[in-house]
Structures are given as C-alpha cells and as structure tokens.
C-alpha cells in the first residue's frame, strides 16, 4: 500500500540539530548524480521545514516526508 520511494542513498542524521541534517544533505547532494533518491533521517523537527525550503531554492525535488515516532524520513530526488 505504501508508496514510499526506494532510496538509492540513506543518510542518517538523527541526533544532529540544525543545521546538521541540512549540511549532511547538501554534502550528499553534491556527491551524487542527478536522479538519485536520498532518504534523510532526522530527529530535528526544524528540518522538516528547513529542508524543503532549501530544496525549493536549490531546485531539487522533495518527494515525501514521513513522520515516525521519534524522527522524520525526508525523501529527495536530485535534479
């Protein structure tokens, strides 16, 4: 039933506060090829707002955000 994207890369930033998860994501986005799906795991609540803002500006695609008990999974596809 779930349409959760299949990530090519998992990035576990749980435990890191702002701007750690976003820095992790930016660094990874620069390493991978266009079309790569990245799953960013973060326990920083602010990231679920800040990451989409950055993606808007940088032009990458936000696929989905999943909220779990103690963290969020943010799926991003690079362009």
């Amino acid at each position: 039933m779930s349409d959760t994207p299949s990530p090519d890369v998992e990035l576990d930033s749980r435990g890191a506060t702002c701007p750690g998860p976003l820095m992790d994501l930016i660094g990874k986005v620069k390493e991978v090829e266009a079309g790569t799906v990245i799953e960013l795991l973060t326990s920083d609540e602010g990231s679920k707002n800040d990451v989409p803002e950055w993606l808007d500006e940088a032009g990458h695609e936000l696929l989905e955000i999943e909220e779990h008990d103690d963290h969020w999974a943010i799926y991003v596809e690079t362009t």
Binding site: I26, E57, G59, E61, E66, E67, D69
Partner: protein, 151 residues
C-alpha cells in the same frame, strides 16, 4: 509506526539569482551571535553562495584555542547557556560548522589584523578556521559586491 504520511508536491525554482554573496562582520564574542553567524554562513556557502566572514573586535576572542578548549564562552542569555550545557553534543560548535562548510562551498574566514595587533596574537592562537588575516581595506574590497551583515 508511521504517525503521519503525506505526499508533497512543490514546484522547483531556479537557483539563478542576482545574489553575489554575503560579507559578514562578526564583531561580538557572544556565543549566540557567533553560533548564528556560523550556521547562516555555513548553509549559504554550502549552497554555493559565496560568503566571507570578517572576524573582528571581541568576535576573535571566541576563536581563541584556550577558550574553545575550556568552553569558557561569553553568553548573552538562556540560549547561549543551553548551548554551553549541551557541551557540543547536540549543537556542533561554530568553528566545527565553519570548518565543515569550507570543505563544501565558497566560504572564507578572515581575522582582523588590527585586533590581532592590539591583542598581540597571531593565527596560531586561534582555532584552525581562518584563511588569513585581513585589514579593513581588504574586507571592503571583498565586500563591494556583497550584501553586508553586521553581527
């Protein structure tokens, strides 16, 4: 286990902008201000926006090796005290953020020559984050095409 699950559709926008970068003057040694400068500068530079940070006046004191090792930072209020109590476990310290961002994007950090002369210090007295020392004229040259933020 998933409490909430939703599809997000956001339009992509171009990165192209007239922004030529930020020139940040950090003149305060208060941890809150130093930390804010490092966070904003690091994300901007990591996103390929050129950033030059000019650390002057009491701002330089926060970068002293002895102070960083002891954690004896000047704080202005409860946010700074909370950061100190975290001991860097939850919130990476400013110089760590800056060092990391310099490896990702166009970030340069300069120490004020005048203050170093007055304080009789050299770059070896500070944590390893500075590209070089700089005077006011050098900073103004680099800031001429940038938005200046004074902190």
């Amino acid at each position: 286990m998933i409490a909430k699950y939703y599809k997000v559709s956001r339009p992509s926008i171009s990165c192209e902008t007239a922004m030529t970068g930020y020139a940040v003057v950090l003149a305060s040694g208060e941890l809150e201000r130093v930390q804010a400068v490092s966070m904003i500068s690091s994300i901007a530079a990591s996103s390929d926006t050129p950033v030059q940070v000019f650390v002057t006046m009491n701002g330089l004191s926060a970068f002293e090796k002895d102070r960083v090792e002891s954690g004896d930072f000047q704080v202005a209020g409860p946010a700074g005290e909370a950061m100190l109590q975290s001991g860097g476990d939850e919130v990476p310290l400013f110089f760590e953020q800056l060092q990391r961002a310099k490896g990702i994007g166009p970030l340069e950090v300069y120490a004020c020559e005048m203050v170093m002369d007055i304080m009789d210090t050299d770059l070896d007295d500070y944590v390893d984050v500075f590209d070089d020392t700089l005077g006011v004229a050098g900073f103004l040259n680099r800031a001429s095409d940038k938005q200046v933020l004074f902190v």
